[in-house]
Symmetry: C2
Subunit: 486 residues, 2 copies
């Protein structure tokens, strides 16, 4: 077929500045729009994406080589996510309204004044889009949706892996913004690494989101922290997502675990932030033989040459380790199984515990439960840790504790790929999984990243934002004198 992809030029410095300044001017009016109107813009973007799926998906296929069903599902997830945040905006719970009535007898020893607190938007958010989810973590993805929902203008730095798709999605968002009451500048799109760095260091940018590599993310985190006015950097960098298979199930459920592992490692050619990159099984477990007996899994084409080259380098680093051997696979577009011992990993965490972003995993053989626990306690920060187990015994409890110490999400008899967009989701974890472990980039709690509280002391009713007035005209959930009300 004829390519739909035209070259996209890098954004000039002058245009970057103009985009950021337009976002800065839009900050006040966008924050001040009625919650229902703000929600309508998010719903409008969702509707527009769905309506244009027929153009968006073929373009995404051409630029990312991901299969059609995966992209169709991802687009559905993306518009769902926008609508879920629209609902959050209408509900108003994200405002975290707290009201203390004046209290002359407050036991602190001094009268308590009337204090009313709510969260307000931070200002323009710069979003570095990811390569591997061209819809869900890109121009109209979760970071954009949650920042817009919080009341912040968004500037997306497009991922170089799908520039034409980025431009089309950007133009659709722009259409919806323009057709609405939202101010110009509420959404902006820039291209090119230098443009991203320029925006990151612009004084008007108030927060940054990033999904990508550890090296690239850390470099940008450092820039954000070294600004004259440092700003929050919500970066998702890298994760190995260890899977620990206990002796109790390593024999009885070997077939199921081997097949689940191959699916989790190979889907989307392993280019998922939650791909299991380390699987620990006991010595002699049939999981290994099951894996070796399974025909090599076609893993599909990689997103682009940059990603493929990075994957090759990461694999080479692990494979070159004297204690690592190739178990199976490794030809182009085939899942690669590497193998080593738990002792080798524990003794050289820096050498063996880093992400291979692609269809590869490291099978780790442990001798006994003590060694499994030692391994589990030695992993650095992760997005996820999964445990395959049976009874609720001491080993299970100890593994869960180690998992919760290392990761933002802990799974039981489940694979970590597929991150559900929900109220209780936590997609984030200790460094290097993310640079802000107390936050999530998936799920409704993602909105809190772009807010800060302001307390109003003794401000008369008629000067308070409606959310803080005693009559509660918008019926937002509130906490009054320390207790939730609805």
């Amino acid at each position: 077929m004829t390519s739909m992809v035209e070259p996209v030029a890098n954004t000039t410095a002058a245009l970057v500045d103009a985009t950021v300044e337009a976002a800065a001017r839009a900050s006040g009016p966008w924050a001040a729009m009625a919650l229902a109107d703000r929600a309508r813009v998010l719903d409008g973007i969702a509707d527009r994406l769905d309506a244009r799926a027929g153009e968006l998906i073929p373009l995404a296929i051409e630029e990312t080589h991901l299969p059609e069903p995966r992209l169709a599902g991802e687009l559905r997830r993306t518009s769902f996510q926008l609508r879920l945040f629209a609902q959050q905006v209408r509900d108003g719970d994200f405002l975290d309204v707290r009201i203390d009535s004046a209290d002359a007898d407050w036991p602190m020893g001094a009268p308590r004044p009337d204090l009313r607190r709510m969260s307000i938007p931070l200002g323009p958010v710069l979003n570095f889009a990811a390569s591997n989810f061209p819809f869900a973590f890109s121009v109209a993805g979760g970071d954009t949706a949650s920042a817009l929902a919080a009341g912040c203008p968004v500037i997306v730095k497009a991922n170089p892996g799908h520039p034409a798709l980025s431009r089309l999605v950007g133009s659709l968002i722009d259409e919806v913004v323009t057709e609405s009451e939202a101010p110009r500048g509420t959404f902006g799109l820039i291209f090119g690494r230098e443009a991203g760095v320029r925006a990151l260091t612009h004084p008007a940018v108030a927060a940054v989101t990033f999904t990508g590599s550890t090296a690239g993310g850390r470099a940008l985190f450092d820039l954000a922290s070294q600004r004259p006015v440092p700003i929050p950097f919500y970066g998702e960098l890298g994760s190995i997502n260890p899977v620990f298979v206990t002796p109790e199930v390593a024999w009885s459920r070997a077939t199921e675990i081997a097949s689940g592992l191959l699916t989790a490692v190979g889907s989307s050619a392993g280019q998922l932030c939650t791909k299991p990159g380390l699987v620990a099984v006991p010595e002699g477990s049939p999981v290994l033989t099951e894996l070796l007996e399974t025909p090599p899994v076609p893993a599909g084409e990689m997103l682009n040459e940059v990603i493929a080259a990075g994957f090759a380098r990461a694999v080479e680093q692990v494979r070159a380790h004297p204690e690592v051997r190739v178990l199976a696979g490794g030809r182009p577009a085939e899942t690669l199984l590497l193998g080593t011992t738990a002792r080798a990993v524990i003794d050289d965490r820096d050498g063996l515990l880093h992400e291979m972003f692609g269809p590869a995993t490291l099978l780790v053989i442990y001798r006994d439960t003590a060694e499994l626990l030692e391994l589990a306690r030695s992993v650095p920060g992760q997005l996820t840790v999964s445990i395959f187990g049976g009874r609720a015994d001491d080993t299970a409890r100890a593994l869960l504790l180690a998992a919760a110490s290392a990761a933002g999400r802990v799974l039981w008899n489940s694979w970590p790929t597929g991150v559900s967009v929900t109220y209780a989701q936590q997609h984030g974890g200790p460094y290097p999984a993310t640079t802000a472990s107390a936050t999530t980039s998936v799920g409704t709690a993602a909105i809190t990243r772009f807010l800060r509280p302001v307390a109003f002391q003794s401000v008369p009713e008629e000067l308070l934002p409606p959310e803080l007035r005693t009559e509660n005209p918008l019926s937002v959930p509130r906490s009054v004198n320390g207790a939730h009300t609805q």
Copy 2:
């Protein structure tokens, strides 16, 4: 009287490491203690402080030169604060429990798994104590109380201004911890700048709190951000706390405003993070003449020579500005009033808008409402902005909006000194007021700084923490499928 103060040696590198490592070992057991037991330790510290007030207050007077009533009130505030956090721990709302039940028809397009999320403690917290509140922002102050409440061990780096008091308070906390079921290492105390830096860069420290100068705080923030594993740095650096007096009340309430200002600037010798350091009044307003007619206010002795020297330097910098003149005061232990124009401030924000930590304020004369608004919109990040006004008119609304953009707390016809410890309090604001504007160091929300969420996916009931079990044995508040429950 005989000095109760003996010299306190700086903590050696070996002892710093041992203290941090003890805290790291205590992390798991302290986090795992039942909430009721954790609360009991906080209550126990409060009781011990109250019981020993007779020794603590004289020692504080000797080391800080603050007056007895102020210190007695501060100690009451400190024990109240510990008890309020104990109550928070028992309530369990801080755990932010969210439960999503499994849902095969979740409209995202893929079934929603069972997801249960709660916040867990980060690990050892390093707390750089402040000089100006030897109880409330020092060894047993709000940062320590909220971090212990979150389930984190605490290492306090004592402020050099009150070493003997720090040692005594530390020994009282240590007694209570030892008498309880809490693990050794739950609390530690170190002395000396180098000791603080060593602890800050120790891999086992998970978060830092700081209250002090902008230069010192920024240097430590940079160290925390540049660690191989960066950690959150909750720093309160510097604030001018502007006060804007509208034309509407600048004549009618001039006497009350002048007298309130002198009290706010002079109390505790101006050594309060919320001292108003800039007061804007309209040209010709009698506030200025009222101030000049008031006898010079005795402001009291400064905390120590280091603080006094820093104050003198900051005052000199402002006073040397060609557009600034001395209006009144300025002899030792006397409140200093400097004066300038709004235009001068707007034109040289860097030269005029920095904190003078002591009994001084800058009276700023504005020509008209437009200039007042321009001034209000030009101030950098603040802990507080106060507005003295009358009707709810456009000027009032515009000033409140500018104030909320700049500060974490906005006051109406009130002085910002005296920060109530409550549920809705927000003590924090955009940089340079703090390094983390979304957090507070005062009030119950302070606890969230030391927590991060973990989501448990498809984990069986018997392996879940009790807070996440369906039956809710601890009766913690929860949000289920997006809605609050009690």
